[in-house]
């Protein structure tokens, strides 16, 4: 775990954080807005490209790391958070950001989500929530409304109340919780920036329309509204969520607490450790 600070002499523009790869996303997909806002935030924070690592699972949204110029890890479905935690804990000087979709994060990866909130390792988590599985062509996700009949896998609807990411994050102990909209570039970039700067696990649910399987989400543009101002009072945050309609934006909760970090012990040499096996 060595510190390898290497600061570039020149300032980087936000396009310098983009790779040469053309995204495979459908034209109009909300994820473009997230990519833009993220690269803008990184440029504003002047973090050198080699100090950034973007970690993802599987899904349309999880393709994002390859479209950036930074280190990236595109792993398996649902496991972005442990990969990000392992990296952030063992290389604390890096800027680690996990990204992905609602299916990836709340369904197959649900257990990791709860424990990432509790563990509070120092990285941020941006979930591009379109309330659908985009990559597998339009099935219901945990955040899908219970009466949505647009999926062939649940043609009568899911009959399950949608998963509440912010409530869950609050209950599980996440110290930074926000919601943003992919088509509100300035507010989104600002929230991402604050998430990156936050010391600890920062969770941002980003409403990011799937224009192909949920075209009605284009209406979000007219519906989203500012709903939260940051509080460190948990009771206040819960009360806000009771009135929440799911498309209110802003930083809901910000209450720093000690990050997960390895214990420091008295250093020992390998020889001294080996000597502990010697018969006295």
């Amino acid at each position: 775990m060595s510190k390898e600070h290497h600061v570039k002499p020149r300032a980087l523009a936000h396009k310098d954080y983009k790779s040469s790869y053309k995204p495979v996303w459908c034209a109009g997909c909300g994820d473009f807005g997230v990519l833009n806002a993220l690269t803008k935030s990184l440029a504003a924070l002047e973090i050198p490209t080699e100090q950034v690592a973007l970690i993802s699972g599987i899904g349309c949204s999880s393709r994002l790391p390859a479209y950036t110029r930074a280190y990236g890890f595109h792993g398996v479905h649902g496991r972005a958070l442990p990969v990000a935690a392992g990296l952030a804990i063992s290389r604390p000087e890096l800027t680690v950001i996990a990204v992905g979709g609602d299916g990836d994060g709340f369904s197959i990866g649900g257990n990791h989500f709860i424990h990432a909130c509790r563990r509070n390792a120092n990285f941020s988590y941006l979930v591009m929530d379109n309330a659908v599985y985009g990559m597998t062509k339009g099935q219901a996700s945990p955040t899908t409304e219970s009466d949505w009949t647009g999926s062939k896998l649940a043609p009568q609807g899911t009959h399950q109340p949608p998963f509440q990411p912010l409530e869950m994050a609050l209950a599980a102990g996440a110290p930074f919780i926000a919601r943003a909209f992919s088509n509100a570039p300035n507010e989104l970039a600002q929230i991402i920036r604050e998430a990156i700067e936050f010391p600890g696990f920062a969770f941002v649910q980003i409403l990011s329309p799937c224009v192909t399987f949920r075209p009605e989400q284009l209406n979000w543009k007219k519906q989203v509204h500012e709903a939260f101002t940051p509080t460190a009072d948990k009771r206040e945050a819960y009360l806000k969520l009771l009135d929440d309609d799911g498309i209110g934006t802003g930083i809901l909760y910000r209450a720093p607490r000690p990050c997960f970090q390895p214990d420091n012990s008295v250093p020992q040499s390998l020889e001294a450790i080996a000597a502990s096996f010697e018969v006295e």
């Binding site: 280190y71 496991r79 442990p82 392992g86 990296l87 020992q268 096996f277 010697e278």
Partner: protein
Amino acid sequence: MNEAKEKPPDDSFSLALIGSGGAGVMTAGQILLDAAAEAGYFGLMTRSTGPQIRGGEAAAVLRLGVTPVGCPDDRIDLLVALDWGKAEYFSDELALDADSVVIADSAEGEPPVWVTDSGARHYAVRLSELAREHSGLRANIIAVGIVGALVGLDFECMKNTIKRRLTGKGSLLLNVIQTGLLASISETESLQCACRLAPPQPQPRWLLTGNEAVGMGALRGGVRFCAAYPITPSTEIQEWLARRLPEVGGCLVQAEDELASINMCIGASFGGVPAMTATSGPGLSLMVEALGLAVATETPLVVVDVMRGGPSTGIPTKSEQADLAIAVYGAHGDAPRLVLAPNGISDCVTTTQWAVFLAEALQCPAVVLSDQFLGQSRTAINPPKDREWHAERRRAPADIADFQRFGDSSDGVSMMGIPGTPGSEYTATGLSHKPSARPSAMPADHRLQLDKRRRKLEQFDYGDDWADIEGDGSLGLLTWGSTTQAAREAVARVCADGSAVRLVSLRLIAPLDPVRIARVLEGIDRLLVVEQSHGAQFFRYLRAVCELPPHTRSLAEPGPLPLRPGRIAAALRVLEMEQVK
């Protein structure tokens, strides 16, 4: 390597301490082993318990020797029963005969039928009564005194180890221990049994379990990050590393499950920090998807699987070698990886160190197959040397031009860009990709990466450590992992009768080099393949990869009983008599 080259014990003594859980048989066993080691003996203590966490039946099975001891013997010289409560659970495990001696607490009445039927000589000894006379002592310590006196252990060594074990229980107790031990020693004068060990040759010894040995090997190899989820019988590796990693600047994370454990290790290793996780069968099953990810993204990583009885949750507290197939093949697609197996407790240090080195050098996951027998047995051994194997990864230098993360090279190993290094930014992906790491579904790109990932493993020069090869003759015995210790003793017994046997034990299970195997099997016309699995996984795997002599037999027995030298020797003798057509 290490104990592998040492000859099997020719002068050893086997004893078992049994009792209900909580009676302190494990503590008594450990004290005896430690005292014997301090006196200069070698020794091994295996644990046998039922599935319950506390209570139930427990046996500490010890074998002490003047030369290194690698496996339990076929029979028990001395059985000490603190009580007969659940003794019948051990009727399969502890073979007594007319030469055996049984000591049981006089308060416990007659031994069970399997004991009396064995013809063993039985003595009722005042274990609990003596303990009561020395308030503060328990019957297990009285048993230690009796066994120590019978075997001829140095009194001071016994006293010292008891003191160390029971520290914190007050200095008053030391007097009690002293007089209690003396009383139990005088009690042995009425016993008629010849249990004495030959005098030892004192020299430096290590006392440790296989699980601790794995931890030490990992540190020597350079592991500085571990994420793990508790599972019997691997947990002690995690516990040992949790304390030791921070001392060398690393850390251990207790993950929420095995999926998280292995993916956290992948994250750390992606960041350039050598990483390891430890688990057992059910955990390995959960890890196979990520194992494939580590293969595809060429992320170095060590996964230690301490095998136990399977399938499913099987027998958590007892040994088997039946995870070989999942270790070699577990993953979808063609996902070649390294699989290694230590062949003894001392070798747990060496093989794990080698696994770290190979994983890093070849940018590939390495599965280390230990098992409950190795992991939870405690042994006194010659200290294993630090080998020249330290994590060394081919890293991209700063500001490299035209960086190709998965670019092909003559040895198939690419340069790895490590976060923090300018100029080699890339996104690793489990998707099929181009040399640049860019995802690709084109057949040529797919094939290039498949070829390169297999080639880098197959072309590497593993040196002489891929197997231990001993002896010569037209009769061969091929085995792997922990079974090697019993196999070596079986070979020694058969050779003592005038036969010549060549023993080959594999340390590198995958990739397997058929040319090398053919070379070591040259001149062998009868071959016995020995393993502890019901489905003969090792035998079938060998047959799929290598040419074996036409007259090859399989001795495959499931756990949880350890394969004993006598069983293997008998199979070798039968094979020797068979007509080769």
